[in-house]
Symmetry: C2
DNA sequence: CACTCGTGGGAAAGCGCTTTCCGGAAAGCG
DNA sequence: CGCTTTCCGGAAAGCGCTTTCCCACGAGTG
């Protein structure tokens, strides 16, 4: 047994060539695959990372997951998937499950919830995980302490505002998700602040809060139109919301960009294929996924700027850049 | 130890109320989470399923994964993710990895490769997995024996042909993926057969084979246009290819549907948002994911027709229905 | 009242590995 | 040539659980 183990895993000591080849041959012949659980038990660890997110079928998360999978695959790490479908309860449950699996690392992707009880429970679970030698990191914001990969949401929101102001827009609508989601808060906050900084009154921005989803975008746009739209530009807190908004606008007979300029946020792959190709804020989503996986796997980053407090949590910032397409033009007076 | 185990897991025997509450309380206080590996080792199994696919960020796989995750989550099954990025080698490696994890079930999503060596290796790996008591199933076709969830690809392809014929089209182009992918073969085969059945010559269909991806669709459409398009309708083997094709057509100045009608396959969520909203063949992708997960988890299906040979592998068929949108019209003579 | 029987707590074995520890053989040294 | 040291194969312990097996105890029975 001992010799076989050493022959298969290399490890601490030398095995004579003859014995090693015999062992390897026997293993191949028997199609032997070591029991990963027994190994994990004996080693007290395993290259496994748990990935927690809202929903893989959301293109935003899918792109991040793709990047994470690339790095995981390259380093032989096993990825366990947890879809929370936006339930804080499920999120905590998954951390606990991954803790039970003695996952080497846990990656929490997405926005986090602004709820004291949830935050406390999450902090506790992650704390135990860390005390047991586990790593964890957040992607795309979270209110908890820890390593994180962060898009420049506030900067991006502000850039959207400036881009629209430059085009000549002066009255804005915002299709926002719940402000309890930190991502949403930063994007919309950045936007509103930039508008005010330009000397416009707060009332120049009409914000409606709906679900942070395609349906939410649809509802927001429809309701804005029906209440009699005075804005000339609509900023959606995410591309997925913009997708829904675009559908609603089409149904309501509002032409984009003729009647209303439209911008999203994230630059998910389909935006450039829409009618019209839609302006947005580009984020290197796959790159964020890769960076996050590298962070928890403790392998060096390549070319990502790190903004770490000495000894404090590591933070990787990803720039958010406005991409103007055909959905935005100068406002035409109606 | 024994009593604690029984108190926590219920199981084989009764523990007095008083002792049970004491155990549970202690567990809560210590934030105890049982070591899943030790449990797996002692139980020789665990509710874990491995999900193998090309790439989660492809909307087709993302939608299937979403459905699978819903069911897994509802049944407390842990999902491990394997992205092959279309490498047969990686696919086999993942089966082996999941076998090492003693996964209860393995779900292989996607097309499979038409390669003898690969098929043999895959069959062997899955065979051992099954001999060890594991289950497996395929989603969306595969040439290997076993339970499967299958979309009606050939029927869908034929339906596309009939729909286009009915609109008056007589000359067709097909943007196909590699014919070694069974999914592609069935879709394109169904299409071609239906055209011939309508009494048209084989030469009425011009098929070009490119990568089964957005880039492949782009290349196919661009090359078709540049060689001087005589077709009035273009059928793409998948929506993702249609996305690329649409981009190429736009760049080449070919108007859809004015100069060319366009159809895809899969009905991924964005198709209805494109310019123009694009006709396709709708498949209940999330439903397929759910059905597949139910299949391997051995829980009853709801409302899915099963077409099982007695004792043979179980096959769940999913209908493919043509959805006509604005990208298809009657041909206008140029 | 002696005996059987059901009940439930705890000791111990075992799941399949890794790693320490032990010991015999070969090699090195004076 | 006798001793120590190095080398490497194999026995055994231990990872953290579940489950079987044993046993003490109290209740029921003739």
């Amino acid at each position: 047994m001992a010799t076989a183990s050493r022959a298969l895993n290399g490890g601490d000591r030398v095995v004579t060539d003859e014995l090693r080849t015999r062992v390897l041959q026997a293993a191949r012949q028997l199609r032997y695959v070591p029991n990963a659980h027994a190994q994990a038990l004996a080693n007290r660890t395993r290259a496994t990372v748990g990935l927690i997110m809202h929903d893989v079928s959301d293109p935003y998360f899918a792109a991040i997951t793709r990047g994470a999978m690339e790095v995981a695959s390259a380093h032989g790490a096993l990825v366990m998937l947890g879809s929370t479908f936006r339930s804080p309860h499920r999120e905590i449950e998954y951390v606990s499950t991954f803790r039970a699996q003695r996952a080497q690392a846990i990656l929490v992707v997405g926005s986090g919830f602004d709820d004291a009880e949830y935050l406390e429970a999450m902090r506790a679970e992650l704390g135990i995980h860390q005390d047991a030698g586990g790593r964890y990191a957040f992607v795309s914001h979270h209110d908890l302490p820890g390593d994180a990969v962060l898009p420049d949401n506030a900067v991006g929101g502000a850039a959207v505002a400036r881009a629209l102001l430059e085009l000549g827009h002066r009255r804005f609508a915002v299709a926002s998700g719940p402000s309890s989601l930190t991502t949403v808060e930063h994007r919309v906050g950045g936007f509103v602040d930039a508008v005010e900084e330009a000397g416009l009154p707060r009332s120049a921005v009409r914000v409606v809060e709906r679900e942070f989803s395609e349906d939410g975008g649809y509802d927001a746009a429809r309701d804005l139109v029906r209440e009699g739209l005075s804005a000339t530009a609509l900023f959606c807190a995410s591309d997925v919301m913009a997708l829904g908004a675009l559908a609603a606008l089409r149904e309501e007979g509002v032409s984009v960009p003729g009647d209303l300029s439209l911008m999203g946020f994230d630059d998910i792959p389909v935006m450039r294929h829409l009618a019209p190709p839609t302006s947005t804020v580009s984020l290197d989503l796959a790159g964020m996924g890769r960076a996050a996986m590298r962070l928890v796997l403790d392998v060096p980053q390549d070319g990502v700027v790190e903004e770490s407090g000495a000894g404090g949590p590591r933070r990787l910032r990803f720039p958010a850049e406005v991409v103007l397409r055909e959905s935005t033009t100068a406002p035409t007076r109606r």
